[in-house]
Subunit: 146 residues, 2 copies
């Protein structure tokens, strides 16, 4: 089973809403993640992508990339989202697609801070759609397990 | 049927995710709204409230209050959320409760701006939990229907 498929299954098992949204990781490596979800379970009153679904799929995209970075580094950390800002620019009228990247420099800084202090932040920008139709700027915090 | 019950039903019918989250409006008037959702369909990998559910329930809380203000005023507007910021301070370990208030002055300014320009913003602060465990600051935009 690929890392993308395994992490999708882990998220579905732990987070019922990810299953309701039909969240799926299509590509996952340390540099990039791409996820998708069909529009129909995620529509709003206007028949376009529901603001809450767009946010939830985007925050899970960032969380999944950060989880993958942590798993590959071998550190033992709990990961939470501390704060996030989302801007909606245009309605999403087809399947929901999110993408997010991290650089090697960003990962090195994050892992070095974690090893020094047992806690570190990773700030990620997640694009929703190709325009992008929405943008999420989210701060994730990794904390050493007790 | 009360306004709270009717609007809950309308939201469930139009937004499948609100049904998956078991979103319910418990109290609704022009000044205040209170909503709730059970924790179990909204848990995350830590067994506490999923960040995406907390955001989605909070943004629906603000959207529902704004929808009620529009309905009571008699204006004909489409309502969307333009941007939002959320800060998570503590995990939610019991049923999710959100609340939001609006003042008469704020509503008067919003409705006057809408009547003058056919478009107006309403900025609302939504509390998640009693501490509050999370806070959402959201900008809603009402646009006259074509």
């Amino acid at each position: 089973m690929s890392g993308a498929c395994e992490l999708t299954r882990k998220i579905h098992n732990a987070i019922p809403l990810s299953d309701a949204m039909q969240f799926s990781i299509d590509h996952l490596d340390l540099d990039d993640i791409r996820v998708s979800a069909p529009l129909s379970p995620n529509i709003n009153i206007h028949g376009t992508g529901f603001a809450g679904s767009l946010y939830s799929i985007a925050v899970l995209t960032g969380w999944a990339l950060c989880t993958h970075i942590i798993a590959e580094s071998g550190i033992d950390a709990e990961l939470v989202v501390a704060r996030a800002e989302i801007a909606y620019r245009a309605p999403v009228v087809s399947d929901i697609e999110c993408s997010c990247s991290s650089s090697e420099e960003q990962r090195d800084e994050f892992l070095q801070a974690f090893r020094e202090r047992g806690k570190a932040r990773l700030v990620l920008d997640i694009a929703v759609g190709d325009l992008p139709q929405a943008s999420l700027h989210a701060t994730f915090v990794a904390i050493a397990r007790a």
